[in-house]
């Protein structure tokens, strides 16, 4: 599902990624762990096509990112769900509109959108807040909206960049449970965090430790 080979990325003279390699099969769960500035977000952005492949090779959902034309990028992104630490929800719009956004941009029919969004909101216990503007929600609820938006497209891959970073421990654990559920259904998940406590509850996950852009340790655990 994701193949990264000798991937390096520099911002000017500073190398944010140095020769990173890993491979994920469908349904794998990968933790990217490392302190701030280790290169986790840079790696996520390269995998999402927000940054170009400068050196090495990165293949996501069968697409070679180095050869992907800018005009075709949106097709790849329609297969990838993204969740960020700062939520990135449209504060003035309702929960329903936020979650439905990826389906709107794909031009899906209204009935399909209604059906899918309602189902996802139910699964994340947001159905009672569907018509609330996001600015009226708590941080945890806004993060659940972001997760709902990322899974409503039934993605092959979810890229989660420190999604629990702004949440308290209990809320973080609850959100981790949501990610586990989607992972169990076959979604590949790449989860960046600098919080090692989260790793304890996901024993089957692969772990990639990064420091200063380079792979320090790589642990592979059998799936399931």
């Amino acid at each position: 599902m994701i193949h990264v080979q000798s991937l390096s990325y520099s911002f000017g003279n500073h190398w944010a990624l140095k020769d990173v390699s890993f491979s994920l099969a469908p349904g794998d769960f990968l933790f990217l762990v490392g302190p701030s500035g280790a290169g986790k977000t840079t790696l996520m952005r390269v995998l999402h096509g927000s940054l170009p492949v400068q050196r090495g090779r990165a293949e996501v959902a069968g697409v070679d990112l180095g050869k992907l034309k800018a005009g075709r990028l949106h097709y790849l992104r329609r297969q990838i769900g993204v969740v960020f630490q700062d939520f990135k929800v449209l504060a003035g719009r309702t929960v329903f509109d936020n979650v439905a956004l990826p389906l709107y941009v794909q031009g899906m029919k209204k009935q399909v959108i209604q059906h899918r969004v309602r189902a996802v909101l139910r699964s994340l216990e947001l159905d009672t807040k569907a018509q609330c503007p996001c600015q009226e929600l708590s941080g945890g609820e806004q993060q659940r909206v972001a997760i709902a938006r990322s899974v409503v497209i039934k993605p092959k891959i979810i890229l989660a960049d420190e999604p629990t970073g702004n949440l308290d421990h209990e809320l973080g654990q609850r959100l981790m449970h949501v990610f586990h559920q989607f992972n169990k259904h076959g979604t590949t998940i790449v989860f960046a965090t600098h919080n090692r406590e989260i790793l304890a509850n996901t024993p089957h996950a692969n772990i990639l430790y990064l420091r200063d852009g380079a792979t320090v340790v790589r642990e592979n655990a059998p799936y399931g």
């Binding site: 999402h48 927000s50 005009g71 949106h74 097709y75 992104r77 329609r78 993204v82 990135k88 929800v89 449209l90 956004l101 990826p102 941009v105 794909q106 031009g107 938006r149 497209i153």
Partner: protein
């Protein structure tokens, strides 16, 4: 198709999401367009006056003295059918002598020449000049008149055509730089508004891109917004011009001026709106490329 229409509607709706920016843009576009419209009205009125007052040219045709009167009469008849001819005065040799005698107020006796007038048959033709290519037209008429049987020479005053031509050229040459300048100003105003809209909506655009929106999906509403702002600004400016014209149209319409200020033609109004929409679209496109 439905998505396209949806994006179109969204583009029109979105411009009202930033009402202050919209008001400022519309004010700027309307004022610049108003200036352009006033200038166009001035040019129209100027051209109208030039054509009305100086648009006639006279050709004097002289026949050979020995030309038969029958041939001369045939030529006069044929000349009557020439296009743009407004009047034709003809003189037989005797009639020309009478006119000459009248010019001397009877102080000179020309009766002795009556039997064998030394003057040739002549015709004085007055034409309305065309709006375009006056010089070329005059040359064509000259050749046509000289081709009539028995015609000895044809006189006309090319200076009059030169003066008219120069006025028309002046109004046209002055017109385009001013219009280009105003178009540039409109483009900059709309472009900057779109940049402002992009800045205000950068989070939304970023999220749209993250969730897989195509370039068209992100850009089209903003481009439509630019075109809509151009159109709205143009309509406002035309309304303003209409009001001003209503108040000023007869301001100079009194003796001895008799100048009626001309409003824009339907074609000019449509052209103005089309140009504004194009500028709005283009400047939005450029702003998006840079943004």
């Amino acid at each position: 198709m439905f998505q396209f229409l949806g994006l179109f509607a969204q583009g029109c709706r979105d411009i009202f999401r930033t009402p202050w920016a919209l008001c400022l843009t519309l004010a700027a576009v309307s004022l610049v367009t108003f200036l352009a419209g006033m200038f166009l009205m001035f040019v129209n009125t100027l051209e109208d006056q030039i054509l009305r007052r100086q648009a006639e040219v006279q050709f004097q045709v002289y026949w050979d003295r020995d030309a038969s009167l029958e041939a001369v009469h045939d030529a006069w008849q044929a000349m009557n059918g020439l296009s743009r001819l407004t009047s034709l005065r003809t003189f037989t040799p005797d009639a020309a002598l009478d006119v000459l005698a009248q010019a001397f107020d009877g102080q000179v006796d020309l009766k002795e020449f009556k039997k064998d007038s030394p003057l040739p048959a002549t015709a004085l033709l007055t034409f309305m000049l065309p709006r375009e290519d006056q010089k070329e037209w005059a040359r064509t008429i000259l050749v046509r008149l000289e081709s009539f049987s028995g015609v000895s020479k044809v006189h006309y005053n090319p200076l009059r055509i030169d003066v008219l031509h120069s006025w028309m050229q002046f109004s046209k040459k002055g017109f385009w730089p001013v219009i280009c300048f105003l178009v540039l100003v409109v483009g900059l105003v709309v472009g900057n508004t779109i940049k402002l809209a992009l800045f205000q909506r950068r989070d939304e655009i970023e999220i749209l891109r993250l969730v897989g929106a195509s370039r068209l999906y992100v850009r089209m509403p903003l481009i439509i917004g630019g075109a809509a702002q151009g159109l709205l600004g143009g309509l406002l400016a035309l309304g303003l011009l209409g009001l001003v014209h209503l108040g000023l149209q007869d301001m100079l319409n009194f003796p001895p001026l008799w100048v009626q200020i001309q409003f824009l033609s339907f074609r000019e109004m449509l052209g103005m709106l089309a140009v504004l929409m194009c500028i709005g679209t283009l400047s939005s496109f450029v702003a998006l490329k840079e943004g």
